[in-house]
């Protein structure tokens, strides 16, 4: 896939989508998640494990990155703009049902995909990945501090951690794939600004 690199929209035709806080939270969370996924691959996929070895070090990095994963969001809560975005992600209006129904029916017409600042798919993704991260954190801690929980829990925690890791990997790939297909959305997270045309097209109900 080639990434389109259109020139940014000229000044005056752009709108502010994200401030420093949201972009900082997204960037650090993405970096930590990347470390988690990369180290997980080295622990789990035999070909990478053969290449890398150093099992104890890789486990330690994985644990630290996993533990730190929720920190950017928690720090971000200090920002009013970030809290406002969390509120937008949380609340589903009637238009989100319309969007979801169209997504299920594979109806790609713009008119059937009404969205505010975030569309319903982004809202579902954000809340699911937040919940999944917490489950990964909890089960990971059970595997790490094996004496804190009853012993039978460790096997169960490993089981949940393994399968959820696979699911998270697939969902993350979808998330990244969609970002690769939408350069203006990526520019929004990189610079904070998007073109008015894009905003009208992708997020018609958003009033920046």
């Amino acid at each position: 896939m080639t990434l389109r690199a259109d020139a940014p929209a000229p000044a005056g035709t752009r709108v502010r989508r994200f401030g420093h806080s949201q972009r900082w939270v997204h960037r650090t969370t993405a970096a930590l998640m990347g470390v988690c996924v990369a180290t997980a691959a080295c622990l789990y996929i035999p070909e990478f494990a053969v290449l890398v070895g150093r099992r104890e070090l890789v486990v330690r990095i994985h644990e630290c990155a996993g533990l730190a994963l929720p920190v950017p969001v928690l720090v971000g809560l200090a920002s009013r703009a970030f809290r406002a975005d969390l509120g937008f992600l949380n609340r589903f209006g009637p238009h989100d049902k319309v969007w979801l129904r169209a997504a299920v029916a594979r109806d790609k017409r713009r008119s059937s995909r009404p969205a505010g600042k975030f569309n319903a798919g982004q809202k579902i993704y954000a809340s699911w990945i937040a919940g999944a991260t917490l489950v990964m954190l909890g089960t990971g801690l059970m595997m790490w501090f094996t004496h804190l929980t009853p012993l039978v829990w460790r096997t169960s925690a490993t089981f949940v951690h393994d399968w959820l890791a696979l699911t998270v990997g697939i969902v993350l790939a979808g998330h990244i794939g969609m970002a690769l297909g939408d350069p203006e959305a990526r520019r929004g997270l990189r610079t904070g600004w998007v073109s008015k045309d894009w905003a009208r097209r992708e997020h018609p109900l958003w009033r920046p």
């Binding site: 209006g93 238009h95 919940g131 917490l134 925690a157 958003w206």
Partner: protein, 288 residues
């Protein structure tokens, strides 16, 4: 943190509170849905957010998050049952899966590669040596061909890793450890055996009684072929009744000692007496 330019502020307050979502003519066909429904759930919230579709509405995000947490907890409680079912299913599926993809799934069967060091030197018939020393009358060194010339024992049992994976009916062939110990002449003060490895880091240990069991081998072959480097070749330990971390890979030294010294993983919290199903808090079926 709040240094965003003015465009970033929350929606203006000058629109009516009831319009939490108003489709414009060309966007969405009206569904006859009463958008006012949610507006009176707190006039302040409604007033601040009414201008756009954002902000109002039901907290579905929170429900999805809590639901995911709930599913995770449910997964913990149902894991033993689910795991058994999946292992049975994937174990059967991996039998006739030419792509090998099932091996990448959790509980998909097959061995996983664990090494505690960055790289491990390769040893072959010309440079491999196994030394036996410590509390013995005749310390010595074996080459690969020395070991091959000794009587070989074949065992076919399940391999169980402490992290959960199990590989059924895996053949191992090699020299019984008790034979090497007897040949070296263990002194009466000896109580334990320590194993060291040519990866330079790994170590293991067994009590003398454990080491003398007939199902403990200095293994030269696994799965009916010479043990390859990734599986700990050319020579690894095979302790059939214990979790697989006891079966040290790249075995290069056997030292008879007067007490058990915990090995690499045992220094890091795993049990020294690692009987399958009776240690490390696990209840797997015994392997031997």
């Amino acid at each position: 943190m709040n240094s965003e330019p003015p465009e970033d502020r929350e929606p203006s307050k000058d629109r009516p509170a009831s319009q939490s979502w108003v489709p414009s003519q060309d966007q969405v066909p009206p569904k006859g849905r009463d958008a006012d429904r949610d507006a009176d759930r707190g006039a302040d919230r409604g007033a601040r957010r009414a201008a756009s579709a954002d902000g109002g509405g039901t907290p579905v995000g929170r429900r999805v998050l809590l639901g995911t947490l709930g599913l995770g907890a449910l997964g913990l409680f149902t894991a033993p049952t689910l795991q058994r079912a999946l292992e049975a299913f994937l174990g059967a599926a991996s039998g006739d899966d030419p792509t090998g993809l099932t091996g990448l799934l959790p509980n998909g069967g097959g061995f996983r590669y664990y090494s505690v060091t960055g790289s491990v030197p390769h040893k072959n018939a010309s440079n491999y040596r196994l030394t036996i020393d410590g509390l013995v009358d005749k310390p010595g060194t074996y080459t690969l061909s020395d070991l091959r010339s000794l009587p070989q024992t074949r065992l076919v049992k399940d391999v169980q890793c402490v992290t959960g994976w199990r590989v059924p009916h895996t053949p191992f062939e090699g020299v019984q450890l008790s034979r090497l110990l007897d040949a070296a002449g263990v002194r009466s003060s000896a109580r334990a055996v320590r194993f060291t490895c040519f990866d330079g880091a790994y170590s293991e240990s067994l009590t003398l009684d454990q080491a003398r069991r007939s199902d403990v081998l200095v293994a030269l072959r696994m799965q009916n072929k010479d043990i390859g480097h990734d599986h700990g070749g050319p020579v690894r330990l095979y302790v059939a009744p214990m979790y697989f971390y006891k079966s040290a890979k790249w075995l290069s030294g056997i030292t008879v000692t007067d007490e058990v010294k915990p090995g690499y993983w045992e220094e890091r919290g795993y049990d020294v007496d690692a009987w399958v199903g009776r240690s490390n808090g696990r209840d797997d079926d015994p392997t031997s």
